[in-house]
Amino acid sequence: MEASPYLPSPEYARWRKWKSAAVTGVLVMCALAVIAPLFIIIYFLLARGYSSLDWSFFTQLPKPTGEVGGGMANAIVGTMTLLAMAAVVGVPFGVFGGIYLAEYGSDRANDWLRFAADVLNGVPSIVWGMVVYLILVVPFKTFSAYAGGVALGLIMVPLVMRTTEEVLVLVPQSYREAALALGIARWKVILVIVVRTALKGIATGVIVALARIAGETAPLLFTALGNSFWNHNLKEPISALPLQIFAYAISPYDDWHRQAWAGALVLMALILALNITVRVLSRDRQSTR
């Protein structure tokens, strides 16, 4: 039987199949390279840190130099405290700023606001630390938990603002019109109907921003400073997981290196938990839409 004129020659067909397989292989490798770091990080954190995790790590203060043992209880509580303070600063400004962008701002004002928010998103976090140092540390002559919380909160503001705007714009115009047609004042329509409808999306944005700042170290170096003891006064320095990890990792002691790994594992678990919360929230949102 004669070969059909529409079929490629066997050599060409083989070359084409080889080419296809090669390119597919390159793409698969790129995809693996993207997710590989996550597994490498988790592997090392578990390998080095898991064995150092014990009850005392979560309950005890760091031991003085030279003594073995102790934990990071104060740093874990410190990170939670800083995150809460950052949320107090970042959420209201971010959410109300996002409401302004989505509901009130003129096109011109919004262009400038969005541009400013995008530039702020790109400001290196150490710069935030330096600025807050000048504003809240120098005048009061002390590093403080307040300064750390404000520095982290300011980093949150543009992130929360942009995600809030995005989810509010997704709320169909028909809900706004339906509510307005009932004679409801505009601010109530926005708060009770529009924001309520987008609440899960806003919460998602807030949690993403919290996950982003939970591991920030640089802005805390000049503001919260770190503390080997419990913080009893927010006007004084406070410990945080990233700061404690940093301090222990650059120390010359094996026991401290071990604890730094354990701290990194705990911090990673916290951020992973925040991200899983986001996944759950956004899955819910899709199913109700």
Partner: protein, 287 residues
């Protein structure tokens, strides 16, 4: 082009407004001459979106407690017109208007008049049913009252049942009041939206193609509802469906290219229109 030319020099707002005889040959001659209460008294009303003029010099009187249908081809300005009646354009940047628009004698666009107050008196039902997705059936009906400051539980309960009964939905949902509003069928959702509008006790209800997204059975239910609502409310309905206009309205206004071409008793508009454009449209030759 003015349909009621005498209104230009008519004395401002004497209740009830008299529809006097019009010059022979004017289309408004179709209107009854007896005194009737006027819901909307609209004179020389024009509207622009930016540079584009959407309504040109519309003068019309819409009777109270009657059903007035607004018909015309797509883009003729009928939706623009009905949305002007409760100031839904306020939030659209770049709109501009001229002329006067009175609702039971009150200038809706007068200085200091609040749009929210206007909309409490002039409710609106939209083309696509839009119950609030975060709220139960009961909350959907009562949200307008609650957000306007009514919190008396007994009153709310009474108004809930009354509104759902008026919207012919009570029997279907009385055991499901705490289910989400979005769990209902399309036709039920639209009746829920009507109940929601009625709950705030407006005087007038605007309906912007209320049945165009519904199947014939759901449409028939809404049309039946329109017949019962006309006893208490002034209804203005935009519709694409000429049979619907013919079936359920008392008066019909035909809009074309932003102008009011003809306005009169529905049966006259559909059987003996005086304007050739109206005749071409209602007989299905264009649009």
């Amino acid at each position: 082009m003015s349909i009621l030319p005498e209104t230009a020099q008519a004395p401002a707002s004497v209740e009830p407004i008299r529809v006097s005889a019009t010059p022979a040959g004017a289309p408004a001659a179709n209107l009854p001459i007896e005194a009737e209460e006027i819901a909307f008294d609209i004179r020389n009303f024009s509207m622009w979106y930016g540079q584009r003029q959407a309504l040109q010099d519309v003068t019309i009187k819409i009777a109270a407690r009657k059903v007035t249908a607004i018909i015309g081809p797509s883009g003729c300005g009928k939706s623009t017109f009905i949305r002007a009646l409760n100031r839904m354009h306020d939030l659209t940047p770049g709109t501009r208007l001229e002329g006067s628009l009175k609702h039971f004698g009150d200038d809706l666009y007068g200085p200091g008049v609040e749009a929210a107050v206007v909309r409490r008196r002039v409710g609106m039902v939209f083309q696509k049913s839009n119950p609030f997705p975060t709220m139960s059936i009961a909350d959907n009906v009562l949200v307008g009252l609650r957000l306007n400051g009514l919190h008396d539980r007994a009153v709310l309960q009474a108004r809930l049942e009354e509104s759902l009964r008026m919207a012919a939905l009570w029997d279907e949902v009385k055991d499901l009041l705490n289910r989400p509003g979005t769990s209902l069928s399309g036709g039920q959702q639209q009746r829920l939206c009507i109940a929601r509008s009625l709950a705030v006790q407006p005087e007038t209800l605007l309906m912007d193609e209320p049945c165009s997204a519904l199947d014939p059975i759901a449409t028939a239910k809404i049309e039946e509802l329109i017949q019962t609502l006309r006893e208490k409310y002034t209804l203005v309905i935009v519709t694409h469906n000429m049979q619907q206009a013919a079936r359920c309205s008392d008066r019909t206004a035909f809009f074309y290219m932003g102008r009011l071409i003809e306005y009169g008793e529905t049966r006259n508009i559909f059987t003996s229109p005086s304007n050739p454009q109206t005749e071409a449209y209602v007989s299905g030759r264009f649009g």
